[in-house]
């Protein structure tokens, strides 16, 4: 990748991102689209960037920063404080959508590890797109918003577990189990270390000049990512746990402020690179899978959200809003596909299909989901003329 290519890339990312935000859409599908356009796919005259070691490395950093922030705001404590409603809502959402996701996965890849990854990718709603929509469309004051955010919390926790083996699971069932066990051990170990590391980190950060503050945090982040990768887990888990280590330190706010721009920049480049590496030829094989998944997502998320709302005492209109807010998929779906791509136990064909699926599926649901969120009140008034 040359500087010229990077300049063209960033210009297109900016332009498409602006257009998307003009229409109230999230920037994630815009970045994916930019990758599809500038990548080796048709149209060829637009092929400016080809996947290379450089783009791969940039994407890896993007994943690390995205998960670092998830770790910094890791919802475990908030989750334990959350009410019964969140558990019920989260469980309904998980049961409905993981089941539909698994059905799509098995239809696509048979009974295999690939099907499991696809199920997770279909299950997990995009927190980024949904929270942006709730803010943009002035829904934060609504009664149902608490339930929506609670369900997102629940999903984040489930996905954190899946991340542990998406990159390395598969092969024999025993092998997958041992990797799962290793992931759990790594997470528990980091949590234990985090408890006594917090004060030490605070003391070190307090005494450091500004430029070393940045280096220290970045070093620990990359160090933990490398460690978890060396242990045969994905770098994602290491980055997540690095975030958890810093989450309880007094410096958390400052770390967030200083690393926001890194996350936004490398996050954007990550989605772009992912778009680059999608092979559109795979459309022939994944087209129907995407279509099926989108339909089942509408059924699962709208139905699951509606049921969760009604059971926890919301009105029909409010429950419809809950479902509509959960349709959009985004960052987690892409990250899962990216991690699976580095998994040596998946065949090249499955990886290719998984990536094309994730890209197209996110393009479809992130757009559809935002439109649904915007219109859900009007639809609700049509469907339920009397508030109940």
């Amino acid at each position: 990748m040359t500087l010229t290519q990077l300049a063209v890339t960033v210009a297109l990312l900016g332009a498409l991102g602006l257009v998307a935000s003009r229409f109230g859409l999230s920037a994630i599908p815009a970045y994916l689209l930019a990758g599809l356009l500038l990548g080796p796919n048709e149209p060829e005259f637009l092929t400016v960037v080809r996947p290379s070691e450089v783009t791969e490395f940039v994407a890896e950093l993007g994943v690390i920063f995205l998960l670092f922030f998830l770790g910094l705001e890791f919802p475990l404590v908030r989750f334990l404080r959350a009410g019964r409603h969140v558990m019920i809502g989260g469980a309904i959402d998980l049961a409905a959508n993981a089941a539909f996701g698994l059905a799509v996965g098995i239809a696509a890849f048979g009974l295999s590890f690939g099907a499991l990854v696809l199920a997770a990718a279909v299950y997990v709603t995009s927190s980024a797109v949904t929270i942006k929509g709730l803010t943009d469309f002035r829904r934060l004051a609504d009664d149902e918003t608490g339930l929506v955010l609670g369900i997102l919390l629940f999903e984040d926790l489930v996905i954190a577990l899946v991340l542990g083996f998406a990159a390395t699971g598969g092969g024999t069932a025993a092998g997958t189990l041992s990797i799962g066990a290793k992931a759990v051990a790594f997470v528990l170990g980091s949590l234990l270390v985090a408890r006594w590391l917090t004060r030490l980190v605070d003391r070190v950060l307090d005494g450091l000049p500004r430029e070393f503050f940045l280096l220290f945090v970045f070093g620990l982040l990359i160090g933990m990512s490398a460690t978890s990768a060396a242990l045969g887990l994905s770098e994602a888990i290491g980055a997540l746990m690095a975030g958890v280590v810093f989450a309880d330190t007094a410096a958390r706010m400052e770390i967030e402020e200083r690393f926001f721009s890194f996350r936004d920049l490398f996050g954007a480049l990550f989605f772009f690179v992912f778009g680059l590496t999608i092979e559109l030829d795979a459309i022939d094989t994944v087209g129907w899978i995407v279509a099926l998944a989108v339909v089942l997502t509408l059924v699962g998320k709208l139905g699951g959200g509606f049921a969760a709302g009604r059971i926890t005492g919301l009105t029909s209109r409010q429950s419809l809003n809950v479902g509509a807010a959960l349709v959009a998929h985004g960052e987690f779906t892409i990250i899962l596909a990216q991690l699976a791509r580095g998994n040596p136990k998946l065949s090249g064909e499955v990886k290719r299909d998984l990536m094309a699926f994730a890209g197209l599926y996110v393009l479809a649901t992130a757009t559809l989901g935002v439109v649904l969120m915007k219109e859900s009140r009007r639809i609700g008034r049509l469907l339920f003329p009397v508030t109940t």
């Binding site: 705001e73 919802p75 908030r78 989750f79 404080r81 959350a82 927190s127 929270i131 709730l134 803010t135 002035r138 934060l140 004051a141 609504d142 918003t145 608490g146 955010l149 609670g150 997102l152 919390l153 209109r317 009140r377 508030t387």
Partner: protein
């Protein structure tokens, strides 16, 4: 009348406060984790769409809070409420624009010695004076925060508005 202020956590976003007002309007205040505040106004409690949304940054929100809290001008009803304290009262008293006390230090004006009223703080732009000291000088536009007995306020207001201060002997040092 009791006011009902409800607090709801919005995980990943911040905290929401909902206030049902006596006139049937509903207010929702969102405290975002990043410090911005949003104020949603609903004309009727059952409205789905807010009729106004105001976005405030941290500074603006604090200033608005101070105004609403009555730190700048005490609404009449609050003044009456203060009397419920019994014989002792806390009063917010604006300094009249033509007050002869302007330019005098609290020691020179000697309000406490002459009326029994103690000045505990001075509200002024941009920074209020908390814990007023004898050498703090009264300026135009100030509002004095005072503590005293109710019966002493008439004399205090008269002294603040009319003086005299100039012919008071300075306390020897």
């Amino acid at each position: 009348m009791t006011t009902e202020l409800r607090e709801t956590r919005l995980p990943g976003v911040g905290v929401k406060y909902t206030l049902l007002c006596g006139h049937g309007q509903r207010l929702a205040i969102i405290l975002h984790n990043d410090g911005t505040r949003e104020l949603y106004v609903f004309e009727r409690p059952t409205d789905e769409e807010p009729s106004a949304v105001v976005e405030l940054d941290d500074d603006e929100a604090r200033q608005l809070g101070a105004v609403l809290g009555g730190a700048y001008e005490r609404p009449k009803i609050v003044e009456e409420l203060e009397m419920a304290l019994g014989e002792l009262a806390i009063e917010w008293i604006p300094v009249p624009a033509d007050s002869p006390a302007i330019g005098k230090s609290l020691a020179e004006a000697a309000f406490r010695a002459r009326t029994g009223i103690t000045i505990i703080a001075i509200l002024r732009e941009p920074e209020p004076v908390t814990g007023a000291q004898p050498d703090d000088v009264i300026q135009e536009g100030d509002t004095l925060v005072t503590v005293g007995k109710l019966g002493q306020y008439a004399a205090f207001r008269r002294l603040l508005a009319e003086g005299p201060f100039g012919d008071q002997p300075r306390s020897p040092k």
